[in-house]
Amino acid sequence: MTSSNATHSASGEVVRCQVDIQESDFDIASLQAWLLSGSAGEGAIATFTGYVRVDKGSANFQCMELEHYPGMTQDSIGAIVNKAAERWPIITARVVHRVGRLYPGDQIVWVGVSSAHRGAAFSACEYIMDYLKAEAPLWKKEYSAEGECWVDAKESDSKRADRWAGDSTD
């Protein structure tokens, strides 16, 4: 499932962006290449990759299952990207989030943002990831030798997103 759209960035330029929700793995090099618009205007690309982590003391962890709300998940991430684009002069942005069964070390999520300068690219990438974690309808269930368990939402994740509310764009 893919949703693409064009929005206007803080600099007034049209932003090319795409959100993919998929079961299959993704190739970071081709995603990064997609971010280059061909105009050579990108002076910076910032990316984030999230992986399935096994915490110390969770030796019995086996895998996780990611559930989403078809349609709303893409749209809510698309809305987050648009808000980032209103705030920073983004040139291109791409988000991929996997769903279904994932194993330790698997890639879960990738966020990439291009801009003329690193400050906007770093900030927009972090902003998108923070709000994705706080707002996008996705749910993790963990499977271990002891059984299965839905992951509880962390207050620290919503606090991380909230701190952007009062921040300047610098």
Partner: protein, 84 residues
């Protein structure tokens, strides 16, 4: 018709992914719908749907308080999100 969907822990605890209800004036708000759903299964759904942190969405947009429901709306109930 109202199209009602449940996700994750809520779906599992109710044992129900989706259901449809004929829309009428007694289902004109999400609070009214939730109260009717709570009465299902001899009140067994109340425990699940009365969780303080349950999130409600109308036509795939999260609503903070009560919201008007119209015929054809899609209403979702789900727990706090844990993606990323």
């Amino acid at each position: 018709m109202l199209h009602i969907v449940f996700f994750a822990r809520v779906k599992e605890q109710l044992g129900c992914a989706k259901l449809e209800l004929e829309w009428d004036e007694t289902l004109a708000s999400i609070d009214a719908l939730q109260e009717q759903l709570c009465a299902r299964e001899n009140g067994a759904w109340r425990e699940v749907l009365s969780e303080d942190n349950i999130i409600r969405a109308v036509n795939q947009a999260v609503v903070a308080g009560d919201a008007v429901l119209c015929d054809g709306d899609e209403i979702a109930f789900f727990p706090p999100v844990t993606g990323g």
